[in-house]
């Protein structure tokens, strides 16, 4: 491969993208920074408050609660979706007419608007008329996600698994299908068992795509808003109020601009930091 040539004029090619993204990212971010250090009593009248809002956010049990729930949720869904996705990708037939059909069917949940996903599960899990809720009660579980925190969590997690596991499957499957048949034949000749094939052939080939899957799943689950909001409204109580839900509640529901802005900045910095770690790992992976 020829090395990339140094050419500063390439900036002109990047400029349009830079401008359109900067308009959408930098201006609003500056507005948020502005709000986060000011207070207001009437529209248009602002005064400087320094770090008051940041202190308030960092010491508020409400923010800690939302952050804790967010981290728990992200950890749970990653722990389920990544292994499950890999398992299903391994179980997929490697070729044949059904592969396309399977892939298309699996991709359908990814293309449903997020509020429809929420509404769909909201109805699907209702204890009296929804298949899931009715079924669970029928076989003897006392299940009502609008009142029991545990049931609400179960439903939110199940919904996310339903919604996004296919992404991991598609990625892992793409990684698997890039393995030449010769590798498998060599393994058979060496008498390698199923686990050895997975550990030394399939996993290394999937490593790269799995990092992308992890990155995408992490960031999307960390900013999840619409689906749980439509499904449970953050309830019962605030048991499924994740960071974005809490943020929108503070900004639009309570119109507490300063607090919401300080929360936004902290939230954004956290996402940025974790993604930077992922990105560095991914780029190192790409270079080797």
């Amino acid at each position: 491969m020829i090395a990339k040539t140094v050419n500063q004029r390439a900036w002109f090619l990047v400029l349009p993208v830079l401008l359109i993204v900067a308009m959408n990212a930098v201006i609003p971010l500056m507005t948020v920074v502005n709000y986060s250090v000011q207070d207001t009593f009437s529209p248009g009248v602002f005064f400087y408050e320094g770090t008051k809002w940041y202190k308030e956010v960092l010491t508020s049990p409400r923010f800690h609660g939302a952050l804790g729930r967010q981290l728990t949720f992200t950890a749970i869904i990653l722990a389920i979706e990544i292994p499950l996705g890999v398992m299903i990708a391994l179980a997929m037939p490697r070729s044949g007419p059904w592969v396309s059909v399977c892939l298309v069917l699996m991709a359908i949940p990814l293309l449903i608007p997020w509020n429809v996903v929420g509404a769909m599960w909201n109805i699907f899990a209702l204890p009296d008329i929804g298949l899931l809720g009715f079924g669970l009660n029928y076989i003897g579980f006392d299940y009502n996600y609008t009142q029991q925190p545990l049931a609400a969590w179960f439903t939110v997690v199940l919904m996310d698994v339903w919604h996004w596991t296919s992404l991991v499957v598609l990625l892992a499957y793409a990684g698997l299908s890039s393995i030449p048949d010769a590798y498998y034949q060599a393994a058979r000749i060496d008498g390698a068992n199923r686990w050895a094939v997975f550990r030394h052939i399939q996993l290394p080939k999937m490593k790269h795509v799995l990092i992308i899957a992890l990155l995408l799943r992490f960031m999307d689950s960390f900013m999840i808003y619409t689906e749980p909001f439509v499904l449970t409204g953050g309830g019962p109580g605030s048991t499924t109020t994740f960071l974005s839900i809490d943020l929108v509640k503070a900004a639009i529901g309570e119109f507490n601009l300063g607090l919401a802005a300080a929360m936004s900045i902290l939230y954004f910095l956290m996402t940025l930091l974790i993604c930077w770690v992922f990105y560095t790992v991914m780029m190192r992976e790409e270079e080797t």
Binding site: K4, L90, F124, S244, W276
Partner: protein, 266 residues
């Protein structure tokens, strides 16, 4: 062994289809029948909900508005991202790596952070409540994504082709449009699909940047759900209709979906 494997796939797909079947089932029932109790299939099959949606302007305009900003966004994202992706895949320039990460960081930014400032920004630009506002706002995450995917596809095209074209006397725009773009046609298709998809499924920004004249279908649905009691049949039919565009486009890119999700890097 093979049987076990196939049944795993089968059970998984069944699990995916069940909620969708339930939505479809309800869309053919009247709201009274839905609330009346549990049933596996509609007893009084009716198309009433679908008829309402196709005859009531608030409903079908919702679909038209949504499709308008989604298509606008796809066109803007892909055409802006093409030259940038080329620059990233072919050249090294000052600050390129930082710039690339900064772009990606916007794909990672939680939309909830941007809702309020976006409303102010687009109101100041006199664009509030137009499809263009939503299309531009969705560029926040779609342009970086498009750059990312296209860069992956472009890096798979050998650099010798560019050089041969220059030696043959092609100018850059001529080479880019006539030779390079056809080579990555699949990549452009996949990118367009992903922009379409992420703009289509997003609700928070689309809902808050519009009020009356550009109200997207997702907002029509949530408002209907909350105002007129609980029109479940109607809601279900509207939901089913939002799945159809996605299901149609996905068939065209089925061979490349995985490659696209891997950002062109498989």
């Amino acid at each position: 062994m093979k049987g076990v494997k196939l049944s795993v796939v089968f059970v998984y797909i069944l699990f995916l289809m069940l909620p969708i079947y339930w939505l479809l089932n309800m869309s053919f029932k009247t709201t009274n029948e839905i609330l009346g109790g549990f049933s596996w299939y509609p007893k009084n099959f009716t198309l009433e909900s679908y008829i309402t949606i196709f005859t009531d302007p608030t409903w079908y305009n919702g679909y038209i508005n949504s499709l308008t900003y989604v298509v606008l966004n796809t066109i803007i994202s892909v055409s802006f991202a093409l030259p940038a992706a080329y620059a990233f895949s072919r050249y090294r320039f000052m600050g390129d790596k930082h710039l690339f990460f900064w772009l990606l960081s916007n794909r990672m930014a939680p939309p909830a952070v941007f809702v309020l400032p976006f409303v102010e920004l687009y109101s100041a630009m006199q664009l509030f409540d137009t499809p263009l506002a939503v299309a531009l706002a969705h560029c926040l995450f779609n342009v970086p994504l498009a750059v990312w995917i296209l860069e992956g596809f472009m890096s798979n095209v050998p650099r010798e082709i560019d050089e041969t074209a220059y030696i043959d006397g092609y100018s850059f725009p001529h080479f880019f449009v006539r030779i390079f773009m056809p080579l990555i046609a699949a990549g452009i298709g996949v990118t367009a699909f992903f922009c379409f998809m992420f703009s289509w499924v997003e609700m928070l920004l689309a809902k808050n940047l519009t009020s009356v004249s550009a109200k997207p279908i997702v907002a029509v649905m949530t408002r209907t759900a909350s105002t007129s009691g609980y029109e479940l049949g109607l809601l279900a039919a509207a939901g089913v209709l939002t799945i159809i565009p996605g299901a149609i486009v996905i068939w065209f890119v089925r061979k490349y979906i995985a490659k696209g999700f891997a950002l062109g890097r498989v």
